[in-house]
């Protein structure tokens, strides 16, 4: 493989990876703006209900799905870049570092394969771990604060439950839904972090 082919591939792959990163930055920024907008509406406008925050979280969840989809392709790009850096640049810069003999084969396979190397669940876990865990913490904090504080602080748990009521669905059932929701978030985050730690997969963005 000619040197300039590797260097050109590296430059182009970098560009591609940066496009994905820029796109993911925008989805994340949009999610934060949704949180800010929800807070403005929920707390700034007279008579607004807590539903705005509850349903706002669906919009943020949609951004999470979009971002996870992009993550799969971005990670494929980053994997190829890592391969080139570790096996082409590093050995060239330091004679003490040796390249993995199979790296070119792996790189070729990666270029030929149409399927991203990362599954959708793992991509979701990656984006939750990186960004969406804190975003949902902020969103749910706003929501629970709105429930508790607006229009005046709840005086009892019963009053608090009833503020969450959604038609015939009792408030406690809605609040109970938070348990599996946050349980899955925590589980995915822990799983992803452990996988990163023990399998050595790096997520660079």
């Amino acid at each position: 493989m000619a040197e300039d082919v590797v260097q050109t591939l590296y430059a182009e792959e970098t560009r591609r990876s940066l496009s994905w990163r820029t796109a993911m930055d925008w989805t994340r920024n949009l999610s934060v703006m949704i949180v800010a907008g929800m807070a403005f509406v929920a707390f700034g406008l007279n008579g607004s209900t807590h539903y705005v925050l509850f349903f706002g979280s669906l919009a943020v969840f949609a951004q999470l799905i979009f971002e996870a989809r992009m993550h799969r392709f971005a990670q494929a790009s980053e994997d190829r870049l890592g391969e080139i850096e570790k096996n082409y640049f590093a050995p060239a810069l330091d004679v003490g570092v040796s390249a993995d003999p199979a790296w070119r084969e792996r790189l070729a396979k990666s270029l030929l394969s149409m399927a991203p190397s990362v599954g959708f669940i793992e991509a979701i876990a990656a984006r939750i771990s990186k960004n969406y865990f804190v975003i949902f913490v902020a969103l749910d904090s706003c929501w629970l604060s709105k429930l508790y504080l607006d229009p005046r602080p709840a005086t009892s748990w019963v009053e608090f439950w009833h503020r969450v009521d959604f038609g015939f669905v009792p408030g406690w059932a809605i609040l109970l839904f938070l348990v599996p929701f946050w349980g899955s978030f925590v589980a995915l985050t822990v799983w992803f972090r452990l996988k990163q730690k023990y399998l050595g997969r790096e997520v660079r963005y």
Partner: protein, 567 residues
């Protein structure tokens, strides 16, 4: 290799631009959140103070900005390294460093605006609060009382001030990289292996009381049979003064690149050396520390080293070479055997701005300086800080081992709870740096602001009461005596027969060139001695600007090249 480095540098540059753009976007969005909050709070009819819950969004943005800042700095440094072919510093820090940089970049100001708007909102809406108690009642959010909120705000701002100080402290010097810090920290570490390594060492000094201390320092990688140099710093400074800006701005690295085997020492109680709690005078340095250091280096090389001492370092070398000893009972004396041994152990001596006899002190104003103190210009007024008033402070630093200068910054970068405690001290030092306490050390027009700050933060370290007293006596009497006043060093320069190059700086307020010639050069017993005056240079300018490095090399080569007779 150049093609590969170029490709790598381009990739770094592209990534850096992308992250810089993300940081700018983040800043704009955060500004938008602050503006939106203020607009709704003050503009929307009936808006409650709960709208300031949007602070959560601001926090989110700050979290992401922190990660971006970490990446940006890591990438900036990596880009420069790759472009230059070397060297990359080891990546340090991470999330806290990124957070500090984000606070420094934008979030301090943004949260300031945000909090002021919030606190004022409760003060003016719906009508101006009539009393503080009413104001506190308005601040209340659910179960959290107004006073509680104010306390929380104060704690928040203290933490923010600490982060701001930390951000300032690392923005220039520390290369940060978070867990997700870009283009493989591993690779940058590979690049880092090309950097000139500082190999630490520790020379043990046995003091006659039975105490042992360690003189630490660093050596640059050995380059064959190069001539060894021992670089010894001056008063209150550690060895980092020879390595002010690793890379092109380091005198030690310059000399190493010019083919010398460079050994930089931190004097007793400075840098990483131990002995802070000892008593020490110039005699102790001359009788114990220097000989031990020279023995330590000589044991590891084949040919005798050249000793290069700056200011007090040169003075100690002169005292040591004349055979100054301290006996177990305490008194000092001159020993012929010690003088012969010590002079044989060296190939030569270069002193930079070292004049033990302050015969010029009266006319130069140095005596007045010692009496009156350091001149400070504060708010257009002249104030004088007596030197003796500073001594307890220096002594305190020495006793407590509080990391001053570089060690403080290193401690800040290292992290942990210590960081929050040290940040106010750092701010105090930042303020002290602005006072120009150390400006008598250099000629201001010759040196950059960054070099002045680096000198203050990286090298000013600490000293000993006895050293200061010995100096004070020397200045007031105009000649150098041993600490117990038994030996008049000024009368014994004839004992020094070592090849010597004396360097004087024209604008040096601490060592007058003319007096150096008459009071020191003419009295040296060495047959091979030379004298150089650097025109237009102050006491320490040559550490602070690479354009002076060749002059130092020239002085060293003068000793190596069998000195010409003084003209």
């Amino acid at each position: 290799m150049p093609g590969q480095l170029s490709a790598l540098a381009q990739a770094y540059a592209a990534r850096r631009e992308q992250v810089a753009s993300s940081v700018a976007t983040n800043r704009a969005l955060a500004g938008g959140v602050v503006f939106g909050t203020i607009a709704i709070a003050y503009g929307a009819p009936g808006a409650s103070h709960l709208v300031f819950f949007s602070a959560l969004a601001l926090f989110l943005l700050q979290i992401f900005a922190s990660a971006q800042q970490s990446r940006l700095f890591a990438l900036s440094r990596a880009f420069r390294s790759a472009r230059g072919g070397l060297p990359a510093e080891r990546l340090e820090g991470g999330r806290v460093a990124g957070a500090a940089l984000a606070v420094r970049d934008a979030y301090f100001v943004l949260f300031l605006c945000f909090d002021i708007s919030w606190l004022l909102f409760d003060f003016v809406r719906p009508t101006t609060a009539g009393s503080f108690a009413e104001y506190l009642a308005r601040l209340r959010i659910g179960p959290l009382s107004g006073a509680g909120l104010l306390v929380f705000t104060i704690v928040f701002w203290l933490a923010y001030a600490a982060l701001l100080a930390y951000g300032w402290s690392i923005a220039r010097d520390v290369c940060v990289g978070g867990a997700d810090s870009a283009i493989a920290a591993k690779l940058v570490r590979q690049l880092g292996t090309l950097a000139v390594e500082r190999i630490p060492f520790a020379a043990e000094v046995k003091i006659w009381e039975g105490t042992r201390i360690k003189l630490n320092g660093f050596r640059l990688p050995q380059a064959g049979a190069a001539q060894a140099l021992i670089l010894w710093p001056g008063f209150t400074q550690n060895g980092f003064v020879f390595d002010l800006f690793p890379g092109a701005g380091s005198l030690a690295e310059y000399l190493w690149r010019r083919g010398f085997d460079v050994w930089v020492f931190h004097t007793r109680g400075t840098g990483a050396s131990s002995g802070r709690s000892c008593r020490a005078s110039l005699d102790d340095f001359a009788a114990f520390d220097l000989p031990a250091a020279i023995r330590f280096v000589s044991a590891k090389i084949d040919t005798p080293p050249i000793f290069v001492g700056h200011s007090m370092g040169g003075i100690c070398a002169l005292l040591s070479a004349m055979g100054l000893e301290r006996l177990p009972a305490g008194p000092t004396r001159l020993s012929d055997d010690a003088a012969a041994q010590r002079q044989q152990a060296l190939a030569g001596l270069v002193t930079l701005g070292s004049l033990p006899d302050f015969t010029f002190a009266r006319e130069s104003g140095l005596q007045r300086f010692v009496w009156r103190g350091i001149e400070l210009r504060l708010l257009g007024r002249k104030l004088y800080l007596p030197v003796t008033k500073l001594l307890p402070l220096l002594r305190g630093f020495t006793f407590l081992g509080i990391p001053v200068g570089l060690r403080l910054r290193q401690a800040l970068a290292r992290g942990g709870a210590l960081r929050a405690l040290l940040a106010p001290l750092y701010l105090l030092l930042e303020f002290a740096a602005q006072l120009g306490l150390w400006e008598f050390l250099y000629h201001r027009p010759n040196v950059s602001r960054s070099a002045r700050r680096q000198l203050f933060f990286a090298t000013v370290d600490g000293t000993f009461w006895d050293v200061v007293q010995q100096y004070r006596q020397a200045v007031l009497r105009g000649r150098m005596l041993s600490s117990d006043e038994r030996v008049d060093c000024s009368k014994n320069y004839g004992r020094i027969r070592l090849p010597t190059c004396l360097v004087a700086m024209e604008l040096d307020s601490l060592a007058d060139p003319q007096r150096m010639r008459t009071d020191l050069l003419d009295r040296l017993g060495s047959a091979r001695k030379s004298f150089v005056v650097w025109r237009g240079v102050g006491h320490e300018d040559f550490f602070m600007d690479p354009k002076y490095f060749p002059r130092v090399e020239e002085a060293i080569r003068t000793v190596l090249g069998k000195l010409p007779s003084p003209g």
